[in-house]
Subunit: 573 residues, 2 copies
């Protein structure tokens, strides 16, 4: 579509604005159908974003998008319409706000709950610089379960500044929103916000205002004008009720399934296996319980929730709380499974250390979307988990070679004596289970060569198999090991092998991962001088959006380079 | 003191209970004056804990102490009176709840805000097992700023279980409590809790009850009885107003200074230097702002807060929010300094990654209490930071050799172009500044030897100097390097040195720290076969309480072993 200028938007009649909304909506649907991305969340805020651009002056005024998965209309209205078709492709527009992409994107987000804190920081800096502009945080109701929001609200009076918080209330996080806060918000948007609820927000120093049909510009525009006026003298909470997926019937009916649209699914999903195995385990063992932070479907837990509703807990976008809850359930003999994306687990780091591992409790982390994930970019790559989990005492880290082995790990986990983290990518192949034993590597190819590859996880093992085949074609032998435990690594196997050249492959940054662990074993055994270890993994950089395979290659897991290195080892002998 | 049996406590008259409280208070004061520990927080809850033991049946009933720094009376009343004099000493009682120490300690804590989540998990497991006991979370008002509490409150209805939350309100966290939540609580304990505030808690599914003189057993006992009764049919919030430091005049007057009593202070404090340098920087540069999460005094920031109240922000126990706030301040050109203890920074891990480093913002983390800290034990050792920070792209990690160098790093930080973490222990020596340059190691002793020691931070450099001296006495030369940047390490210096034997020393666990970083440089340069690297740091274990020096030695930084290794290298040649 063509760019719509700020001037045009500010002068357009109401019918023309409605036309613009329809054009934007079509553009979003068309682009997402080609590029994938967040659909329902973006469709819900088309009118709200148009109204914001009409009433406020961006980029002088600043807006922080909580999570950031609802910024497409903002991108389309800020000079990026022509580029919008490149959405989520390598080198194209990001699906999230990016400072480097436009001066209209003042703060980068990706995980829930940061927008109010960020808006407060921007507003405080404004005050300190004696500047004059408006600062807005646009926050979905799902984020109102996240603790960070309350930490920020508590700061409003301390910081003594002015922000406009727009609570975009669609009654969903990714799963339908749950819990006490949700009930509070529901009552408010029934149109008769009880005085004590308004008082809750006012206690924090916020003036409460509400729009209960937030997809109607006729209601929205005057409400935003009033909020802007009120913002001159203090902070405002504007509660806007919107419909997720608005204007696109399929999304309106299926807001959870259409929250994110992904393309190019090429294999089976680990999440399906998780749901099947956990449900089967739960049938046999009454101690098995499942916990998720607002991601039931994406993690494959729906069958478990259906069959064992009393033993399945979706606590909302509360990664830390979910972690402590698992620890406590385990102190009383339960076997909790905490399913979560790799990148979101970063939120619970302190609790993994102290609550789970400090108490050596048998909680199993099912860490989905590990490794490079692709089109969501920097904030969604799962490339740090091996590094941040490896230093934690008592924790075992498992990385299955395929879905069959993932199932075996899950079955073994239920009687495992301490904390266990199983990390896996979204997609893979069912494959075959080899010789599985906890804490042991698996030797896949062994021959009288001087080269051995230790690979962790399905992506790397596939790469290892391709390398093995390509090297064989060139007359070079190498051994291949399924390095399925990264902490502890299988010291016995590493020390028992006599190959001179060791290669490690991991779908993780290099610092603190598999390569470093193998190197430590060699050093401690005094073998580092006889053996030559080379680690392949991702270099020290944030990995942007693009296709996962392509990114993996460009950031360090490059088949050609590794093959060249193998040939070089062979030549050196 | 002698153990007081549960039977005795349950049958004692009110005057006798008051006597018991005085005995307990004396025992706490006497022990803390010898062993150090948390004084004011423990004195505040003597009556409350006695009343809890009178009304409830521990260990059948379960109590979770939030933070855990108020559990001394509980320890004294649960069979640990005779051992109490060993508090906080190696092998003696911990200053925090420990499951291994007593069946009365059902859940381990150390950091704020976990107790409600933990109580919910324990209660839910009880329900699933069809067991019958009461579950209590004792939470200070300071933790009511922490986001985790709201995440847990939001879960009350989801989990559909029953817990008693006791809000121990003394108007303090470590610093006096701040912000909107504090005002809410203050109003409530004035004796006329506004209906909308009670409604706030009731919205989450809690029955609200209050005792406004929580150091008076005559009020406390019936209130706890009522709460216990109400707990049979649903969750209860009992708001108890106590006086921190109660019964000990000095503590009552100086609750912040007497929150924790430490003994054996032996050197200057890095925190004093932080306060001096940041204040000086702020005088010259209007962009400098300071942020803390409820630790103003302990981190040395009081002078800054006094001189620049408008540029200093104590946001309460909200480590994540503080981190995002810093990021946002930096996007608008400020130079934020986030001062925090190493162990508490774990709470903000996701925000360090995405908000600060993902956006490459010039925020400086001043990480105090790094390395083994001693008597507070597992939850307070700062031995993971080098490992969890090293994998993060864009971050520079600095480790000063003494306070003079710490000052130089702070002065350099104000114009540094990206995120910087400076980690340092509590105490050290002012020392002298050598040749300081950002991102460069410093060669302290150089000679024609085959051995070179790379040491990060003051503890390790002192150890290196002792090793250097002891080896010299034995006729063995070695070179010594101040490895003051752990990320990135000074590759140029490492590769330019010709010593065969490299030794790294770090006050951190071995996985993912300095040793691994140096090893990676050697591997990448193809030098790993010619050089012999041995890393000394802490082994893969949680380090319990004890004296810091003693723990450092026992967990891996053992002078004798390292010296023996140096002599062995020399002999091997």
């Amino acid at each position: 579509m063509k760019n719509i200028s700020s001037g045009e938007l500010k002068e357009a009649s109401l019918p023309r604005l409605r036309e613009i909304c329809e054009t934007l909506r079509e553009e979003i649907v068309d682009t997402v159908s080609v590029r994938g991305g967040h659909l329902a969340s973006n469709l819900g805020v088309v009118e709200l974003t148009v109204a914001l651009h009409r009433v406020f002056d961006f980029p002088t005024d600043k807006i922080v998008f909580d999570v950031g998965h609802q910024c497409y209309t903002h991108k389309l209205l800020s000079g990026r319409a022509a580029a919008f078709s490149t959405l989520r492709s390598r080198g194209g527009l990001s699906g999230f706000p990016k400072r480097g992409e436009s001066e209209y994107d003042c703060y980068e987000t990706g995980h829930a709950g940061t927008a109010v804190s960020a808006a407060l920081g921007i507003a405080k800096a404004r005050d300190l610089k004696n500047a004059a502009f408006n600062v807005i945080a646009l926050v979905g109701d799902g984020s109102f379960h996240n603790g960070l929001i309350y930490e920020a609200l508590n700061s409003l009076k301390i910081l003594n500044t002015r922000v406009l918080i727009i609570l975009n209330d669609n009654g969903m996080s990714i799963s339908p929103t749950v819990g006490g806060t949700h009930e509070l918000l529901s009552e408010m948007k029934e149109g008769d916000a009880p005085i004590e609820d308004v008082a809750l927000f006012e206690r924090y120093g916020l003036t409460y205002m509400g729009v209960y049909n937030g997809n109607d510009l006729e209601e929205l525009l005057p409400a935003l004008q009033s909020a802007k006026k009120a913002l001159a003298s203090g902070s405002v909470l504007l509660h806007v009720s919107t419909r997720k997926g608005q204007g696109f019937a399929f999304c309106e009916r299926e807001p959870e399934r259409t929250h994110g649209i992904s393309l190019g699914k090429s294999g089976a999903e680990y999440s399906t296996a998780l749901g099947e195995e956990l449900t089967a385990l739960a049938r046999r063992d009454g101690r098995v319980v499942a916990v998720t932070a607002a991601m039931t479907d994406a993690l494959g837990l729906r069958p478990f929730f259906r069959e064992f509703p009393g033993r399945a807990f979706d606590v909302g976008i509360c990664e830390e709380h979910a972690c402590v809850l698992c620890a406590a359930l385990a102190t009383e003999g339960m076997r909790p499974y905490y399913a979560i994306y790799s990148t979101f687990l970063q939120r619970a780091y302190d609790e993994i250390i102290h609550d789970i591992c400090g108490q050596k409790l048998p909680v199993t982390f099912c860490i989905d979307r590990a490794g490079v994930t692709g089109a969501d970019g920097e904030t969604h790559q799962g490339v740090f988990d091996l590094s941040y989990l490896s230093p934690i005492p008592n924790l075992v880290i498992a990385v299955p070679k395929n879905i069959a082995e993932f199932r075996a790990m899950l079955r073994a986990s239920v009687n495992f004596s301490g904390p266990l983290a199983i990390r896996y990518p979204r997609e893979g192949e069912e494959g075959e289970l080899g010789d599985f034993e906890m804490l042991k590597f698996e030797l896949l190819h062994s021959n009288m060569s001087e080269i051995i590859i230790y690979a962790a996880g399905e992506r790397c093992l596939r790469l290892a198999e391709r390398l093995y085949a390509a090297a064989s074609e060139r007359g070079v032998c190498c051994s291949v090991v399924n390095a399925r435990f990264v902490k502890p690594v299988d010291r016995e196997m590493i020390l028992s092998r006599n190959e001179k050249y060791l290669i490690t492959l991991e779908d993780n940054v290099l610092a603190g991962g598999l390569g470093d662990a193998v190197a430590r074993v060699l050093r401690e055994a005094g073998l580092a001088q006889e053996r030559v270890l080379r680690s392949f993994g991702y270099r020290d950089a944030f990995i942007p959006h693009g296709q996962a395979q392509e990114l993996a290659r460009d950031f360090g897991l490059d088949f050609e380079s590794i093959l060249a290195y193998i040939m070089e080892c062979h030549a050196r002998g």
